[in-house]
């Protein structure tokens, strides 16, 4: 690991000031950043440890929603009584991700900031436009079955691995951000960026900015479901995952919200399929409009309609 200096601010304001230093990176849970630092993929000159700045509470908002502090741990968010009752798709997404140890450590803001990644991103002997912009993408034409089929570019085909963010996307969460003397909010839809020809830029967060929290709007009516298909039954990234909110109208199941993980370079909401066709195959056709697969990722395409069929059958 490259040497770095270390700082432990006590307040968000101190953290923002420290994070503005050249080469600074913020560390919260550290479960993604430290892994990448050990491999030499990340090499910050200065580490700002924000684990003692507060922002670790979950509070009701006046609008009937929930404000989740940036340092709330994934395990605590999943277990929160209001999340379980009113945002069960979020609890289900969280507990389908990582391991018990990691969920205890990983923060919700770190989950937002985790790197979009594939095996070639991890292999520093291979070209990767994320690690070294302009060096090329070894994954395109390479070996691997978990690459993106939507939202990819000629520069990158990695998938965004978060489960939590897929649920947040379905719930229309808002990310609250502070910098020196300024505050702003950004919809989760706009927080993660598509790769284009700059896949090393993954989020809308700017240098000197600190995520302070995530706000959930008031709860949605209907049934909330999170399904995840993966290589093994536990502790694996999604091949395809799906956050679904559905209601029943005149005896018919209506898709109200639909978002996917494992398919794309960012959490993938499909508004065009919401309140649209009832048939799983017809919904899947909308979801997969413009999808590009290769021999190794073609299996993901039929999974979409099958997962929809299985999930919609359980909605009452």
């Amino acid at each position: 690991m490259k040497p770095f200096s270390y700082e432990r601010p006590a307040t968000p304001a101190e953290a923002i000031e420290a994070a503005a230093r050249p080469g600074a990176r913020i560390i919260a849970g550290g479960t993604n950043l430290l892994d990448l630092m050990k491999l030499g993929i990340e090499g910050p000159a200065h580490i700002v440890d924000i684990n003692r700045i507060g922002l670790d509470r979950i509070e009701d908002t006046p609008e009937g929603g929930l404000r989740i502090g940036a340092l709330v741990r994934n395990a605590d968010l999943a277990a929160h009584p209001r999340v379980r009752q009113h945002y069960p798709v979020l609890t289900r997404a969280l507990v389908s991700g990582a391991s018990g140890q990691l969920r205890n450590k990983a923060s919700v803001s770190g989950n937002l900031m985790q790197r979009t990644r594939c095996p070639y991103f991890y292999n520093t002997d291979m070209a990767c436009n994320k690690r070294r912009p302009g060096s090329g993408c070894s994954a395109i034409g390479g070996v691997g079955h978990n690459f993106a089929v939507l939202g990819a570019s000629d520069a990158c085909i990695a998938t965004h691995p978060s489960d939590m963010c897929v649920a947040l996307r379905a719930l229309d969460a808002v990310v609250e951000i502070e910098s020196a003397g300024a505050k702003r909010s950004i919809a989760i839809a706009d927080f993660h960026l598509l790769p284009g020809d700059t896949p090393h830029l993954e989020t809308a967060l700017q240098p000197g900015e600190l995520i302070t929290g995530i706000v959930l709007p008031s709860p949605l009516a209907g049934t909330q479901i999170y399904r995840k298909v993966r290589d093994r039954a536990s502790y694996a990234f999604a091949n395809v995952s799906m956050a679904l909110v559905a209601t029943v109208e005149h005896g018919e199941v209506v898709v109200e919200r639909l978002a996917f993980g494992g398919l794309a370079l960012k959490p993938w909401r499909v508004e065009a399929a919401e309140r649209g066709p009832r048939d799983p195959d017809a919904i899947a056709d909308i979801v997969l409009a413009g999808a590009k697969s290769c021999t190794e990722t073609a299996y993901k395409l039929p999974l979409v309609s099958r997962m929809l069929a299985a999930a919609l059958e359980t909605v009452q």
């Binding site: 270390y6 432990r8 560390i27 430290l34 440890d49 395990a75 018990g100 450590k105």
Partner: protein, 179 residues
Amino acid sequence: MTDTDGAVVEPVRVSFTINGGLLTLELDPRVTLATALREHLGLTGTKIGCDQGQCGACTVLVNGRRINSCLTLAVMHEGDSIATVEGLGTPEVLHPMQAAFIEHDGFQCGYCTPGQILSSLAVIEEIRAGMPSHVTGSLEGPVPLSDEEIRERMSGNLCRCAAYPNIIAAIRDYAGAKP
């Protein structure tokens, strides 16, 4: 201080409690909690397997919660209370979970065992606290102490000897649960 490559590193002071005793260390900030335990404090019960949070051999309890000690910097634990396998029992007086692992043959080589034991103690607490898992049915009721729940929650602890059925039996026995 200088590191093995000759780079100058500013040491950071950190104080935490390990198995009930307060300690202060001056550390290169790159030192993970797992390495601090093993190399700086001689507490080699905590194992490093994959060193990337996949295998769980490095599991310790921090303020009562299980984490991967390989994926956290020691200096991030100022004021924390850390429990390792050395704090659980002694060869003469085993912790009941340790005794259950022996009784049920819950290991072969034993390398993953300290992590398995600390993780399993936390798993029982998580179930009793009603924290949901991927296999939990209703999110609103109590969580059953079932084999299915234990298996899912222990997925962050790998055993290359594949003693899994016996590990589950040991945990079930300790917790007083029925198969």
